[in-house]
């Protein structure tokens, strides 16, 4: 049954999309600003024969997800920044054990308890690991409710295909905002590719064990090489990004998630004045769309980076662009949301190169 347009809050959108994508297990611990998601799923999961648990902590919740995932069930947990910090142990284990799962982070201000306002300060935490070991977590960054729905499906598919935890990185604003959404049709769980590695009890076959501990030096060495091959494949096949208004642009704005929406409005403001800027929006934060950004930045010659942190995605932009273009940076710590006009001033200043708003980055 194709679904009609629905007006829904971001957190609920993830919940409904997860159920339609075949998620049948959710565990999480309350934390603002994403409580609507567990609340939604506490009612929705039983309707589809799935299980919902309010865990006693984020640590317990991610480990419940680990257990469910090991039996082949599509499983998800969600939290916000300090809670996601606690999930890192489980994420690292699942990376090592090659278990698929989806982890939602609706980022809030930090460090520490910070505040509950939207933030982009967990970009490092999401893209650089956070748990121990040489692993990567694919990270998807939606820029609105429709994309939250679509990328939730994508997240489960990538997780299963590569047997890896996948993170969706939103923020407090995205979790709260209400936008119209058309949901993809629910999948038929039975149509998903079989998981021959899953634990189901050893009836009719040899027992299986899933573990990340490899005491033999060569075994761990080879396991890490295998993981790296997988990450290379993800980088080759799963890169996602979007561009807008770049053809005639004098400045390329790089922003993801909520800031990309503000940037888009700022670009439109400028264009009304005849000033031409364009948008490059990474959708996968890891793998980062390094080469596409490099090419476009080199062509345009000027890059303006805008994020809700004091410069985390900026590192990836610098690595992509280097000296091929001038780089300007406008970072806003979590909580204060700049208006499109604030961002437009930064973009104008960057085009002039006067450094009055934001700062010039020497790569």
């Amino acid at each position: 049954m194709p679904s009609e347009k629905k007006l829904m809050r971001g957190s609920n959108v993830v919940g409904e999309a997860a159920v339609r994508a075949g998620c049948r297990f959710y565990a999480g611990y309350p934390i603002t600003p994403q409580n609507e998601l567990p609340e939604y799923l506490s009612a929705r999961m039983p309707e589809v024969g799935g299980a919902f648990i309010q865990g006693e902590s984020e640590i317990a919740s991610i480990n419940m997800v680990l257990g469910a995932a090991a039996t082949g069930v599509r499983a998800m947990t969600s939290s916000s920044s300090p809670g996601v910090a606690l999930k890192q142990e489980g994420i690292s284990y699942m990376a090592g054990q090659e278990l698929p799962a989806v982890v939602i982070n609706m980022m809030r201000g930090g460090p520490g308890l910070g505040n509950i306002a939207p933030s982009g300060a967990d970009y490092y935490q999401a893209t650089r690991g956070g748990g121990n070991g040489d692993y990567r977590t694919p990270v998807l960054a939606p820029a609105g409710c429709q994309e939250l729905a679509d990328l939730t499906f994508t997240a489960f598919d990538i997780a299963d295909k590569y047997r890896t935890p996948v993170m969706i990185l939103g923020d407090g604003l995205m979790g709260q905002v209400m936008e119209p959404v058309i949901f993809p049709d629910p999948i038929d769980i039975k149509s998903l590719p079989p998981k021959d590695w899953a634990l189901t009890g050893c009836k009719g076959r040899k027992p299986k064990a899933i573990f990340s501990m490899l005491l033999d030096l060569n075994a761990l060495y080879n396991h890490n090489l295998h993981l790296q091959e997988k990450y290379d494949e993800i980088t080759a096949k799963e890169l996602r990004w979007d561009t807008a208004m770049t053809e005639d642009a004098e400045l390329l704005v790089v922003a993801y998630g909520t800031p990309s929406r503000i940037a888009e409005s700022a670009i439109e403001e400028l264009r009304a004045e005849g000033i031409k800027a364009g948008l490059f929006r990474p959708i996968t934060l890891w793998p980062f769309p390094t080469i596409p950004l490099r090419k476009l930045a080199a062509k345009i010659g000027k890059v303006g980076v805008f994020e809700f942190s004091m410069g985390q995605m900026l590192d990836d932009v610098i690595m992509a662009v280097g000296e091929r273009a001038e780089i300007y940076f406008y970072g806003v710590p979590g909580g204060i949301i700049p208006t499109p006009s604030d961002v437009a001033r930064f973009l104008k200043s960057s085009i002039k190169g006067d450094g009055k708003v934001g700062r010039r980055i020497e790569a």
């Binding site: 049948r24 297990f25 565990a27 299980a51 648990i53 865990g55 006693e56 902590s57 640590i59 317990a60 919740s61 480990n63 419940m64 997800v65 680990l66 257990g67 469910a68 995932a69 090991a70 039996t71 069930v73 499983a75 142990e89 489980g90 284990y93 054990q97 634990l199 189901t200 009890g201 050893c202 009836k203 009719g204 027992p207 299986k208 064990a209 899933i210 573990f211 990340s212 501990m213």
Partner: protein, 257 residues
């Protein structure tokens, strides 16, 4: 008389144990506990329907010895992992096997809350009053006065706190149906331990709630005792702090008999 009647197999390796040598030290309680768990699974016909969760601790490699499906959990998280398995697979038989550091220190919250939710899971709790795997550091269950590498001169309540009785702690919860403490330090007690484990498994099969069997288990290596001395220490010293017997039983099994 036929050969069959003359030679009846009365002892062998349970099917739930693989034909591997364990890495456990001589006199270690883990190998005995493994065998008891395996015998009970065999006798209840559960092996092929079981998913087990080993700990991080000396039994971290239990999947090399147990002959059924197993999933490694991070240190202390076995009961959370088991919860995820059981809630999505209510018809599977799910057990955890955990040491005292795993179950009663780093995993205390996971233990108490799985128990309190009344998860239909069976927990086998190996209490050897020491951190075996990491080399003899103080455990939450270490006795007062007992030497540990991080409690030189012996555990002192004013410095190190007191031996924790987690079995008694969880027993107060309505979700917990059956808790028994047994010893692995004499043949008679080992037989009793097997009975307790089997009953604990039955609790899960009957979907009654959470069950746990605590096994006082010798660690001769880190106690720096011979295996024989270690048995004596369990029965003369350890049982005074951790008295043997049923701690909680709301199964009603005996009433039905």
């Amino acid at each position: 008389m036929s050969a069959e009647a003359a030679f009846k197999k009365i002892f062998g390796r349970p099917e739930s144990l693989k034909e591997n040598y364990t890495h456990y030290c001589p006199g270690c309680g883990h190998s005995i506990a493994h065998r008891l768990v395996a015998e009970c699974l065999d006798e209840l016909g559960l092996r092929e329907n079981t998913i087990g969760v080993p700990p991080v601790g000396c039994a971290v490699l239990a999947y090399n010895y147990f002959n059924f499906d197993m999933i490694e959990a991070p240190h202390g998280r076995a009961l959370a992992v088991a919860t995820g398995i059981k809630r999505t697979n209510p018809d599977k038989f799910v057990l955890t096997y955990q040491g005292d550091g795993d179950l009663a220190a780093i995993g205390t919250a996971e233990t108490i809350h799985a128990a309190n939710r009344g998860e239909k899971i069976s927990a086998i709790f190996i209490n050897n009053a020491i951190y075996g795997m990491t080399g003899g550091q103080m455990a939450p269950t270490t006795l007062l006065g007992q030497e540990a590498t991080t409690a030189p001169g012996g555990r002192d309540s004013s410095l190190h706190g007191n031996p924790i009785d987690i079995s008694a702690m969880i027993a107060v919860s309505n979700g917990v149906v059956y808790v028994e403490r047994c010893s692995l330090a004499s043949l008679k007690q080992i037989r009793q331990a097997k009975k307790a484990i089997k009953k604990c498994f039955q609790v899960q099969l009957d979907k009654l709630g959470f069950g746990l069997v605590e096994l006082l288990s010798p660690c001769p290596t880190n106690w720096k005792l011979s295996p024989k001395e270690a048995w004596a220490w369990v029965n003369e010293v350890m049982v005074k702090v951790y008295p043997l017997g049923v701690i909680k039983d709301t199964t009603g099994y005996e009433d039905k008999k």
